[in-house]
């Protein structure tokens, strides 16, 4: 209920999108990318959401979009709010928030490496973070096939084979294939 009230107050000012109540203490709100920074600042400074819990991305490949999720926590009121920002998947770029939370720079480094999302001006953004000498498309994107990559790059130990029970039975019992 409290979350709903917060949403209703902020909605006209920040033109908020869809509101999803997940639990009493957790709700997700869709926000336009251009309004995010102001909203985050407002939530941090005015509403007590001082703790950036995490920043991550979801690849909606079918829709051609990345969803960035900024999860904030208000410890005093025991509430969490997740801000969903949908940005275009091609040449994905987003405003950096390292000026609001120093720790965000690390998240943004990871997102650049794992999803290929650019955060201009974020510190040390283009240094290798987790990977080293990665040449393929960013691995957390949905169109990257990890199994295929593993099979092409790392040899399996030979000698493995398996049979499908149904096929094997047909063959054994009826001589069919």
């Amino acid at each position: 209920m409290v979350m709903q009230a917060l949403y209703d107050t902020l909605k006209p000012r920040f033109l908020l999108g869809e509101f999803t109540k997940q639990r009493d203490d957790l709700a997700f709100i869709t926000v336009e990318a251009v309004r995010l920074h102001a909203l985050l600042r407002h939530l941090r400074d005015q509403e007590g959401f001082t703790h950036l819990v995490l920043l991550t991305a979801v690849d909606w490949l079918e829709d051609g979009q990345f969803q960035l999720t900024y999860l904030l926590n208000n410890r005093a009121k025991r509430q969490d709010v997740g801000l969903r920002v949908l940005i275009a998947r091609d040449n994905a770029t987003m405003e950096s928030i390292h000026d609001l939370w120093a720790a965000a720079a690390t998240y943004q480094r990871e997102l650049r490496e794992m999803f290929g999302i650019d955060f201009p001006d974020s510190p040390r953004l283009h240094e290798d973070f987790i990977l080293e000498g990665w040449q393929d498309i960013p691995p957390y994107r949905r169109d990257f096939d990890t199994l295929k990559y593993a099979q092409e790059n790392y040899r399996d130990r030979p000698g493995r084979e398996t049979r499908d029970p149904a096929q094997h039975m047909k063959q054994q019992l009826y001589g069919e294939d």
Binding site: R160, T162, D164, P165, A166, H168, K170, Q172, L173
Partner: protein
Amino acid sequence: MSIRDVLSPFTAWKNLFRDPVTIADPLNERPGAARYRGFHKNDMDKCIGCGTCETICQNGAIDMLPVSGVPAKLGDSGLRPRIDYGRCCWCALCVDVCMTGSLTMSNEYKWVESNPDLFRFTPGVDKKHWDNAELGYQRHAEKHLTPGERVEMPELEPAARIGSFTEIVDGYSIEQAKLEADRCVSCGLCIATCPAHMAIPDYIKAVRDGDYERGVQLLYETNPFSQVCGRVCTHRCEDSCAARHEGDPIAIRWLKRHIIDQVPQEKVLELIGKPAAPTGKKVAIIGAGPAGLTAAFDLARKGHAVTVFEAQAAAGGMTRYGIPEYRLPYDALDKDIAVITAMGVDIQYNQRVGTDIAMQQLQSDYDAVMLAIGLHQGRSTRIPGSDHPQVRKAVDLLRQITTGEKIEAPKSMVVIGGGNVAMDIARSMARLQLQQHGEIRVTLTALEDKAHFLADPVEIKESLEEQINILDSRGPQACVIDDSGKLLGLKTWKVLSIFDAERRFAPQYDESDEQIHEGEMVVEAIGQMADVSLLGNELTEKLEWNRGRIQIDSNGRTSENWLWSAGDCVKGPDVINAVADGHRVAISIDSVFTQQEAKS
């Protein structure tokens, strides 16, 4: 900094005077805990090779491989899991999901090798020193990862159904069907068991996904009698279902029916599509039963001109004339047949080959002839008095019920036989008794004991619910007829054994245990045979025979190269077998045609 901070650390030296806590012999002193997830064990007798462990293993650590000495048989694929310890993470999901509880873990955990290829082994087959370990991880007593109980099929209460021939079973709702389909582990043990090799796991998946149109397509790939088989199939697939071992088998038959129930007839026709362009080949099929019509359907779709000759006034064969309406309503059957005729199959009713049209003529007029005449003659017990007019054959009675002839139900009656036909006639007559006399007095005597009844357990359960008096291990000895020639009942002896040491039919009786079962009518339901008189003497002489049935090769072709035969008349009674036969013959005929084309 206080003096305490300087001195207090020296208290550590007290340990100098305590014994070390080191384990003296860590290699031998430390067996794994009772629940320890150590190396795998597999009980070869329990394992059915369903491969569910392989499916759930997120590491791709399990391969299903054939093992010498374990042949494939119904309900056991003959494969056994081989585990790659270069992949395993000892999460024991394979143990938790195992359908039979055969796969377990020991509490052994030490295994060192120089050669990494040795870390693949088949538990239970490759002998390991932990095979007999008593401790180790077992599945929790309540099986959690797959539901074990079947979704109850809604059906009429005995009181409501006994009065009429209304269909008993309602069919699943979509919710129920989804829940039931969810239980399937898609192992595919059922596929080989099904004579028609229906793609059972795939169409169950279609139910799960709610994609009924794909379901119908899958059904028609292997079986044009979905309405029929969805109701009265002998469902041997369910006997080999992996879920059977720790709960109820999946209700495969009901799910099949559910699929066809969900799709309207027109949509079904649309999904099947149009037959191929005419090839100019003509095929005659004798008998419009499941075997004949299946072949007709397949051949018609390939573009051959098919004519079916049916002696009765309606198509369906035994499914219509042998199965009571409360199990298989006629309109359901008609739907199946309508799909088949929509493919361009021409069914000539009331055309008895041999009488109305000669066999030789078919041979000369058509490029191929298929004989699928079914088993429509009842066998007799040949006991004294069995020639009495009130001693009837079950198949004849059932046919009369279907055709709508008026039957005087006797006040009391005895049925001889323990198969499905016996149950069918007993239950049908019970309904008539109730309608005509207001009470049921049917006694059923079977040679077999309860544990070995040939009839479907559901049939027996429902018969009992419908007040049929079922007596097991009773051997019929004579029909008791009084001096006035009136049938009084049946005399039976207690059966001691049915087969001799060589498994030949040679019943032994306890003559002291004699009973007389009261009945104004005795119905023999001990088996059927084919009426092959239509062949004529010349053809009968030319054909090769095998124990009273026409000899056919694996494709259903007889020794005469223009004549094929299929269904009950060559394989014994079973709908799904007949369907499978029909497919086989259709393929064979079609390939012969193709060869002929190629030659010319």
